[in-house]
Structure formats: C-alpha cells, structure tokens
Symmetry: none
Subunit: 199 residues, 4 copies
DNA sequence: AATGAATGAGAGTTCATTCAT
DNA sequence: GATGAATGAACTCTCATTCAT
C-alpha cells in the first residue's frame, strides 16, 4: 500500500496534490495570506512544478471555483428535475446544498470570501455560472408560487438570496464537532425555508 | 474658507479621514490588497500621520469593526428592550439590522470578508462582542418560543444564524440602484423570518 | 574630507549613486544581465531605496537616456548655431560628438545596445528626441550642400547616418589606453566626414 | 504533400528550423528577452529536441555568429583577391558588405547587439575571427595608401572602423520599405568611403 | 503633529537545464 | 531522436513599519 505522507507525495498526481493543498490553505488563512511557497511546501513539490501545471496562483483559485460550481450545479439540476411535487423538490434541493456545502466547507469558505481576488475576467465567468445556478433555484420557487403552494408575499429572487445567505453563512459557524449532524442542519434550514413559504 | 478636495483634506479631522478612506478601500479591494500607501493617498495625508494616530494597519481594521459592532449592538438593545409584544420586537430588530447594514454596506462587506485578517488577539475580542450580539438576538427568539408565539421546531441558535446569513449575504447582491429600497428589503426579510417562526 | 568608499556611500545623494552604479553595470554586462540586486549592492543601498526613487528598473535606463540626449542636443545646438562658416560648424559638431561620446563611453554603449529594453512608450519618446537630433545635424549638411561647399552626391540623411555609425561604433573599439587621444580620434573622424563631402 | 505550418514543421530539418526561429526572435526582442520556450514554440518542436541538437541557448547564438562570420569573410576574400585596381576592389568590398548586411539584417542586429551575451570563451573566438576580417579589409586600405591612390591622412585602422560603423548602424535605420534599394545604399556608402580616401 | 527616506523580508513569476522514459 | 515533467536559483517589485528631523 502506498506511503501517504503529509503532502501525499507518494501516489496522488502533482496537480491534485497542489489543488488540495491550496484549498486547505486558502480556506484556513485566505487567498492573499497564502503564499505560493506555502502551497508548494504543503504539496511537497517545487514552485517550478506548480507553474508547470498552473499559469498563476489565480489559476488555482479558479480551478477550485470550477470544481465547486460544477458539483453544485449538477446536484441542483438533479433534484430540480426529479419527478416529485414542487415542495418536495425544493425541500430536497435546499437541504442538499446544505449537506454538500458542509461536506466541502473549505471550498465554501473560499467561495464566498475570495471571489474578489479572481482576475476580472475569471470573476465575470464565475459570476455568470453563479447566476445560472441562482436562476435554476429561483425557477423552482416561482413554479411553486404559480402552483399556489408557496406564498407570493416575497419576490422569488429574495427568497433565493435568503436561503443562500444561510448556506453562505455555514462556514462561519458550523463546526463538525458541534451538536448537529450535517443532515440535521440541512433539514432544519430546509424546513425554515418551506415554513416561510407557506401561503 | 476650507478647501475641500477629493480626500476631504479641508475640514474633517485626520483620523476620521483615514478611517473613511480605509473603509472604502477595504470594501472595494479587500484588506490585503489595500496598501497603507493607498490609504494615506486617498486620505490626503502621509504615512507618518497614519502611524501617529493608528498603531498599525490592523488597528484601522479593528476600529472599523468596533464602529460596526457598537452601532449594531446599540440598535439591537433598543429594539429588544422596547415595550411591545415579542413578535413586534423581533420583527423590528430583524428589519432594522437589514436597513442599518444596507446603509453601511462597505462596513458589512469588510465585516464578513476580512475578519481573519485581524490579529488573533483582536479577533478574539471581536468574536466575543459578536457572540454577545448573537445571544441578545437569540434571547428574543427564545422568549417568543417560551411564550408560545413562535414555533419550537427549530433551535433558536439556528434561527438566528439563518437570519444573519441573509444579512451577511446582502453585501453580495444588494445594489442601491436596484428595484427595492432598503426598507422594502428589510420588511421582506423580517417577514420571511416571522413567517418561518409561525407555530 | 569625505570618506569615499566603493559605493560612494559617504556624500553623494542616493539617486545619483544609483544612476552611476546602473550606468557602469548596464555598460559592462548589458541591461538584462544586470539585476536590481547588482545595482543596489554597487550603490551601497537597499532595494527599497531604489524603488523609493525610481519606479522601475526601466526608469533607471530612461534616466540615463535622458541625460545623454540632453547633453548631446545642447552641444550640437551650440556648435550648429555658432557664428562660423558651415564647414567649420559641421566639422566642430562632428568632432565634438566624438569627444563627448568617448568621455561618456558607458552611456554610449548603453545607448545603442539597450534601446530595445525600454518600455514601448519610453522608447517612442527617446526615438522622437533622437530624431530631433538627427534633423539638426542633417540641416547643417543640407545648408552646406545648398551653399555649394558640400557635394550633393549623397543624400544628407545618409551622410548623417554614415557619421553616426562611426560614433555608435566607438564603444566597440575605442580603448582609453590605446594610442590615440579622444581629440585625435575626433579630428580624424571629422576629417573623414569633411573629405567625403568635398565637392 | 508536405504540411507547411508557421514553424515550417513539414520539410526543413529541425536544427535549421531552430536556428531560423532563434535568429528571428533574437533580432526582434534580444537574446536575453527570448526564452528557450519561445524558440521551440516558434520552431514547432520541444525543448528536448533543441537540447538534442544544441548544447545550450548560447550555442544557438554562437551558430548564428559562425554563419555570419563565414559568409562575410568568404565574400570579402573574394572581392579583395579579385583581379582589379585596388580602388575598385575596395569599393566592391565596401559595397558588398552593405548589400549582404541588409540582406541579413536580423543577423546584423544580433551581431552587434548580442555579442556580450556569448560565453567568454566563445566571445574570444568570435573576436578573433572578427579581427581577421578587419585586418583583411585594412590591408586593402593600406595597399591603396602605399600605392598612392588613397590619402594617408587617416590611419587605415580608423578608416576601417569608420566604414564598419556605418554598416553596424544599418540595422538601426534601414527599412526595406524605405525609398532606397540595398544596392543604392551600398553604392552611396562605398562612394562616401572612396571620396574620403581621395588624396 | 507630521514628514518621507530607508529598510529588509518576502511576494509571484520566469527560466535554462536535466533526465527518466 | 525526442518528450515534457520537474528543478532550483534568480528575477523584479511590494510592503508595513521605523526613525531622524
């Protein structure tokens, strides 16, 4: 069996090792406070290797964003397109994003805190994908409102931002060693959303 | 007659000018991306002046946090201690924090994004004040739950984090030139909270 | 009496010390082969000091160019505007540029070898000043041709480039410890020019 | 049928492709500003291929020098050894070096600008060949002076440097799209030399 | 109260070259 | 013959902070 050191320098390919190290460090101390030197040391490689695979430090961040965005969009699409009543689909999607976010809390911390360190061009691209995600979620709310199962008291856009605020906030307060499991938190937060939407 | 330039170098005292410049710049480009040189240039003073009034760049950030925390705590205390039914007091407090946050969107952006740039000691202090704020808000929720006017389905702590997530999130999506006034947003968000708490 | 060390760190102002060190090093090993570290070490200061006075390494080069261009233009203007027959004025100007170039052989070596390392914007500016110099010199030749004292067999532009080629070339072959004094070289080269222009 | 891309990756042997790419790039942006990566990309090969054929980046430069030196020496020898009066032989040689230099303007630009980038050992070798060339040319001048057809007012060495200065300078000002053909420039410059040498 | 020259450590990035395949 | 991953040293430039004035 493979020797697994701190930097995992045994088996995992170098690019993955670098991404993993960068993710951990960016989440811990922030993008700007993490030096390229820190990353390569954590990954057990040299700077040259990093720049062989990534064009810049910024590229690493962009890769992390891509990974998160792809995952969340796929999961949302799956839940939203399921064959179930809209209340169920919204509840499932709302709970799932919580579970997935907690499972990747480092990614989430980076996501909301470090967006602005991306180069303008990459930021634009990330925002576009983000908007697509938001719109798919909003469509679910609107569908329920049109069907009369959700209150129309609040604009759907605001409802989505309300819920995502709480997801965004998770990395601020959630601790794996706390008293609630990810699933419990997810159920509670989805419940709050659905209760708020009762007509 | 006071000369009033871009940096407001005419009338406003130097410390305030520096804080205002720092707030704007920290919100715009982040704490680490803002150099001390940027701040003093924007404030129309020299580095020596900054270090005369503030011990370090970190001190500026701490001052901004102090200002926000004091303001929010005062307002929360006033609403929570008012003479009104608990539903009303919670609704008012929940709406007020939204209005106040939008009125100081730069402060809010800094608050959630730059906390980790504080020195460990100052961070501890800020977190303690933050906790006090959270607890006062939670006490309101618990009071309503005990009185039977709020559902007990969700732990009060989680309810508070749910709402503050949405406040936190405001700096991400709210634009002053958008279609909703701060008061409208505040009313909607407070309404969502209260609706979610219906028994 | 002032202590005069290798880096002249006693009396001369820092910017001058840096320019002198940069000039020597750029001439010796070329702009690209000279590191900022080399320059500050030779000048006996730190990198921070260099960047306090000069915006970039490129700026140092530009300063050197400015110094050369100003000097040569002033001298050419003085000789060209003198009160003497055109043959005399051209001979004097042609000889003087040789003497001055030999007196500043480092500047000359840098001038012709490192122009292309300037930023595009600064290069444009240098070329414009260079052109002005060329034109003043050409005007002298044309004046003599019009007066009939110089042959018109060769276009004036080409005559100027012919002479400046030889000036340019000085830094390639002239050695202060050689057998000719700067003045002797200057007289010979001016003589060659004037003889070539005989009608 | 051979695929002929930008890098001419179809037919031309790899070493030639590399030399051609290096010549163009060195002339364009200078030796130090051209990376090995740039060269192999322009030649459509990989780094390994370059290091298979050339021992170092420096070797490429040396090859370019060798090519230029060989060509010029051969041509000078041919003209100098021709059966014609010395005035004619000098005129022909002086004009030919101009035409040949213009025909290989990239080589010329590299020659005079990048000599100092050669390793000390190779530089010594190049200088020796250069000296041989200079001496053959000088011998022509001396022959004419001894025969009384050239003025002895100027030392022959200086006459040679005078002319080569103008050749050196060509890459600074000559533009193929200008108003003079290479032959016209060559005739004018040779004429200036011969006129200067009139007794 | 305020200046601004100077520091020194460290930032992100580039690059010629090597070597196992 | 040729690859391309990886190295390690060097590069230009930035920055918070200090201190003599």
């Amino acid at each position: 069996m493979a020797r697994t050191t701190d930097g995992d320098s045994g088996t995992t390919p170098v690019p993955q090792r670098l991404l993993a190290a960068a993710t951990r460090l960016f989440a811990d101390r922030g993008y700007d406070r993490t030096s390229v030197q820190d990353i390569v040391e954590a990954a057990g490689v040299t700077k040259g290797a990093l720049y062989h695979y990534f064009g810049s430090k910024d590229d690493l961040l962009h890769e992390i964003y891509g990974r998160v965005l792809r995952l969340q969009q796929e999961r949302l699409d799956a839940f939203a397109d399921a064959d179930a009543p809209v209340e169920q689909r919204l509840r499932d999607a709302a709970a799932d994003v919580v579970v997935t976010t907690i499972a990747n809390l480092d990614d989430a911390a980076i996501f909301f805190r470090s967006m602005h360190q991306l180069s303008p061009e990459k930021l634009k691209q990330v925002r576009a994908e983000r908007r697509r995600y938001h719109e798919r979620f909003r469509a679910l709310v609107e569908e329920g409102q049109a069907a009369g199962v959700f209150s129309t008291a609040t604009p759907a856009d605001l409802v989505v931002d309300y819920h995502f605020g709480s997801v965004h906030h998770l990395s601020t307060w959630y601790r794996p060693d706390g008293s609630m499991t990810p699933q419990q938190v997810a159920d509670h937060l989805a419940d709050l959303l659905l209760r708020a939407l009762r007509p």
